[in-house]
């Protein structure tokens, strides 16, 4: 983090991510909220790039900004009255308490952990190393995850079928 360009990029991306996340909560229109969420995802992808994790950054854009958000858009489109605001909702106080607890917990962990600064340069090839790690030491979790996804797909087909 001693390079000036990286520092500027970090603060700009952090401002974009957090600003978009704040707007996600503040806007009334659900469709606008999803668009701010996508902007926040893209900002996080940019933060990964400043950490020289290019594969994770591209996967973040591909999966979160490209696929998950489409899923959310469909969910909003299928929700009746998606354009209403949440003023009539009585769960405001529990939500406030819960999110306050989460923020307090994360802040506590971030402040109390003794972070070690890695004195390394940028990685050369993250994609190849991730691939090798997935298929040799972590092959069992990888296979379990794919079995889980197949099961989810079959379940979706079963739900959709008429008979």
């Amino acid at each position: 983090m001693d390079d000036l360009g990286v520092v500027i990029a970090f603060w700009a991306l952090a401002a974009m991510t957090i600003g978009a996340a704040a707007m996600l909560i503040l806007v009334r229109n659900l469709m606008h909220a999803i668009l701010f969420l996508i902007l926040s995802f893209v900002g996080v992808a940019g933060l990964y790039i400043t950490l020289s994790a290019d594969f994770v950054a591209v996967a973040q854009v591909l999966i979160y900004a490209g696929a998950i958000s489409v899923l959310m858009i469909f969910a909003v489109m299928l929700t009746p009255l998606s354009e209403r605001d949440n003023s009539g909702n009585f769960l405001q106080l529990p939500a406030l308490v819960l999110s306050g607890l989460v923020i307090a917990g994360v802040t506590f962990v971030a402040l109390e952990t003794e972070w070690r600064e890695a004195g390394r340069g940028s990685f050369d090839t993250t994609a190849a190393e991730i691939g090798e790690a997935l298929l040799s030491p972590f092959v069992l979790p990888f296979e379990i995850a794919s079995v889980l996804l197949v099961a989810a797909m079959i379940g979706a087909i079963v739900i959709v079928r008429d008979d």
Binding site: V58, G66, A67, S69, D124
Partner: protein
Amino acid sequence: MSLLANWYDFRDLGNPVARLIEALQDAGLSGGWIYAISGLLGAIGILSFVGVAAVINIWIERRLIGRIQVRRGPNRVGPFGLLQPVADAIKLIQKEALQPDNADGIMFTLAPIVIFIPAILAFSVLPWGEHMVLADLNVGVLFLLALSSTTTIIIFMAGYASNNKYAILGSMRVIAMLISYELPVVLALLGVVLFAGTMSLTGIVSFQETYWSWLIFFQPLAFLIFLLGSTAELNRTPADIAEAESEIVAGFHIEYSGMKFGLFYAVELVNTVAVSAIIASLFFGGWWTYGLEEFIPGWILFIGKIYSIYFIFIWFRGTLPRFRVDQLMAFAWKVLLPLALINAMMVALEIFIWTEYEISAGIVLPIFAVVNFALAGVLIVGFGRVMSRTMERFPKLPRLVKDIDVPLPEPSTA
């Protein structure tokens, strides 16, 4: 070609840039500034190419489609109608920028602007010449896929913000189509990436240079799947159900007028050039052309290849009728996806054989080429036989619609 030539030697556009970097280093600037300045120069180069291409392509496309459909195309404004795009742009700028009453103003205005970001970013990872690449990403192919997946959201923004039933129908169709066609396209590119062993576009081009062969000779099936799938992702005519004029008027950009419509029109052409460039560098060697790049600059060869593939897209547009929505989806899921899966597995097997038994490339690559071409032929013909109903070239009797088991709509009781 070396970088030792003079700055006015444009055989390699890297020459003037290299001279400039040397001059900056002599001036005593630090690495970050030199990086920023050379990046800015590359970006300006790409933006000017994209701008010129978007204008020229309107003319090329209209003239060629005119020729295909036995008309003349634009031929009044300027010599051969060359100034027609300029006249179009002036007309579009003069028009009133209408916005529907209940439209979502910010999203409505933002969508045609934001949609240019992925289109232009795609050009940054393309290798234009041996040393001419703006951002040589290790994950270049995946980066391009990520860009194409974000286009979905922006088109949906345009359709949703218009507050028009045809616009929302068009954008829902886009989402369904892009999600369906992303799978075969990704699997086709997986074959290429597995074969070349790298996701960097520069690496894929240098693989083709090392083994002295374009990748289309090893991956014919992946090329066909990628060509057809990207036609759908580009919303071009055999698959332009998102803006089908005869069904939903103009689809997601029905409410756009003036230059906002012009931006949607231009981004389609820019995207087509980008996809042609991706195909050119993945399957046709990019700037590398069997030693021809020693005599002709690599970037001119690359642009030549881009426009050869662009011609195929125009040819599709001029000759093929539009698919129905369900036909298009069925084509993605029932034909392209299985073929792409078989292709990816075949490539994995071949790479396993190649690396495990350490056979020299000279013996094993021609065999792979022959096997893959045979496999592509067998799969395409076999799938055609299995999936289609038998074709009657000269039907003797007129047949009712229900005889060829097409589901008929229920008669309305009203």
